[in-house]
């Protein structure tokens, strides 16, 4: 397992968003994390990617404990994320947005441009070339010089994916990549996600479009009320009564009804 999460807990003001979640993501797989609204999926992503600290539990990535590590440290370790609502820097060009995503940028330290200007320039050229290459891949080359603020929602999602890939991660977390994206761009995005797997990258994706999940995922992890309630292949989880219950509610609840009232 490239990513191993054990007994993860996180509460917000006394409400447990994640309560003892455990799961693993195999290297080179597309693993979907699904569950009804409020199941704790995005909180798990926030915990794993270092945006918030867990109250308890361990997160191991490539054998290293990264629980509670900061987001930048997690990203340097090779685990990056893309957000549900894309976060692009609207007043920077598309190309500059891409270049921001690269690791090892000596030019970020003022001193380095004085001490080792050539090294800074060389790295800058490498990053520039890679950004152009990546833009080609996500078919945004034509827009490289435009402000990112002029992109459509779907294009921003592609840009965010491209920027996340700039750091050449081992694993990427995608939070609802298909949400709010036009069908044509959506299919393109799906294509990219499958290309990532073909290049041995590990993908963990939260997605509400179940047809997409069932079509592209190798493994599916199902959460409900902060816990992992089922795990398996798409076919297995679709037949799992616990999963059906999480999505459609319980059977026969109406019978328990009759005389009872909401007790004070």
């Amino acid at each position: 397992m490239l990513l191993e999460v054990r007994d993860l807990d996180k509460s917000f003001g006394g409400v447990a968003a994640v309560a003892g979640a455990s799961f693993g993501v195999a290297e080179g797989s597309i693993t979907a994390l699904i569950g009804p609204n409020g199941a704790g999926k995005t909180t798990v992503f926030n915990l794993v990617s270092g945006f918030i600290r867990p109250d308890r539990g361990t997160v191991r990535f490539a054998g290293r404990d990264i629980a509670g590590a900061r987001g930048d440290a997690v990203a340097r370790a090779g685990l990056v994320r893309a957000f549900q609502a894309p976060r692009v820097l609207t007043r920077m060009s598309v190309l500059d947005n891409m270049m921001l995503g690269a690791k090892d940028q000596p030019g970020e330290r003022l001193g380095m441009s004085w001490i080792a200007p050539r090294r800074v320039a060389r790295r800058e050229r490498e990053i520039h070339a890679r950004a152009l290459e990546m833009l080609e891949l996500i078919r945004l080359s034509k827009l490289a010089g435009d402000y990112a603020g002029t992109l459509s929602g779907g294009q921003r999602k592609l840009l965010e994916l491209g920027r996340a890939l700039m750091s050449q991660p081992r694993m990427i977390l995608l939070d609802e990549p298909m949400a709010g994206i036009a069908p044509v761009l959506g299919e393109q995005l799906l294509q990219h996600i499958q290309d990532l797997r073909a290049r041995q990258m590990t993908v963990c994706v939260i997605e509400h479009d179940m047809d997409v999940v069932m079509s592209i995922a190798d493994r599916v992890i199902v959460m409900d009320e902060g816990r992992v309630i089922a795990e398996g292949t798409p076919d297995e989880v679709q037949r799992d009564e616990r999963v059906i219950e999480a999505y459609l509610g319980r059977l026969g609840a109406g019978d328990a009804a009759s005389a009872s009232s909401v007790a004070p």
Partner: protein
């Protein structure tokens, strides 16, 4: 079957440029519970907002049969006008005033029928007896289930013909969900027609007479609630089908 108290015909609506609802039709028969279910993003809540005048219908008709048996077109009416005609809605969140007492929350609900307030208050407290001992409490101190019941009570204070509920079980513990569903059924038994939207599809269908399943803003399935409850297609609408669209193939 009895007559339709509410008829939504071929409604298209959305936010900004894109339609979230496309050509959606539903009916609620007098005295029954109608359920609208469907996966996330299927347009359920938007449908309720269209009926209650919170989102305009771009196309289609929304018609209520009022107390005098007249057909009333609800399009272009504001929510308070729709309430006055006999529909009230319990939204999913922010449905009580937390800083007001339970009694004040109920009284606010009676604005459309001010002159009949005392009688209606008694009727609502008879239907929801759990509210009686807590009339003086601040609504903020109620549990999730109690709050939901207060929100329902407040809507009932306007003496509606049709009560609309947007995910009444959301955020409630399983046992409390059951109690809320049971309460909805007993309120319906008092003669109030109910239209409800739910994520907990099976519990909702268990108390409903008729159900509609929406998917991606369109009517997908409809039928007697019991029949939908047994329909495997409903499950696959929620849990997806494995398919390989052309672009998914390499």
């Amino acid at each position: 079957m009895t007559e339709s108290i509410l008829k939504v015909s071929a409604v298209s609506a959305g936010y900004g440029g894109e339609d979230v609802l496309r050509d959606v039709s539903i009916e609620v028969h007098r005295g029954t519970i109608a359920a609208v279910i469907g996966p996330n993003g299927s347009g359920k809540s938007t449908l309720l907002k269209v009926i209650y005048g919170l989102v305009p219908a771009r196309e289609g008709r929304v018609v209520l049969l009022d107390r005098d048996g007249r057909e009333r077109d609800l399009r272009n009416l504001r929510p308070h006008q729709i309430t006055a005609l006999g529909i009230n809605m319990v939204p999913q969140i922010a449905n009580v005033f937390p800083e007001m007492s339970v009694l004040e929350n109920l009284e606010i609900g009676a604005l459309p029928i001010r002159d009949r307030l005392p009688r209606q208050l008694e009727a609502v407290l008879a239907a929801l007896p759990l509210l009686r001992p807590m009339l003086g409490k601040r609504a903020a101190t109620l549990s999730g289930g109690q709050r939901q019941m207060l929100a329902v009570g407040r809507a009932l204070m306007s003496d509606p013909l049709l009560l609309i509920l947007d995910e009444p079980s959301a955020g409630l513990a399983p046992m409390v969900q059951d109690e809320v569903f049971a309460k909805i059924r007993s309120i319906n038994a008092l003669g109030v027609s109910v239209l409800m939207v739910e994520q907990r599809a099976r519990q909702c269908l268990a108390i409903a007479n008729f159900g509609y399943v929406l998917e991606q803003g369109r009517n997908r399935l409809q039928g007697a609630a019991a029949a939908l409850l047994a329909d495997p297609e409903v499950v696959s609408l929620y849990l997806g089908v494995r398919r390989m669209p052309t672009l998914l193939k390499r």
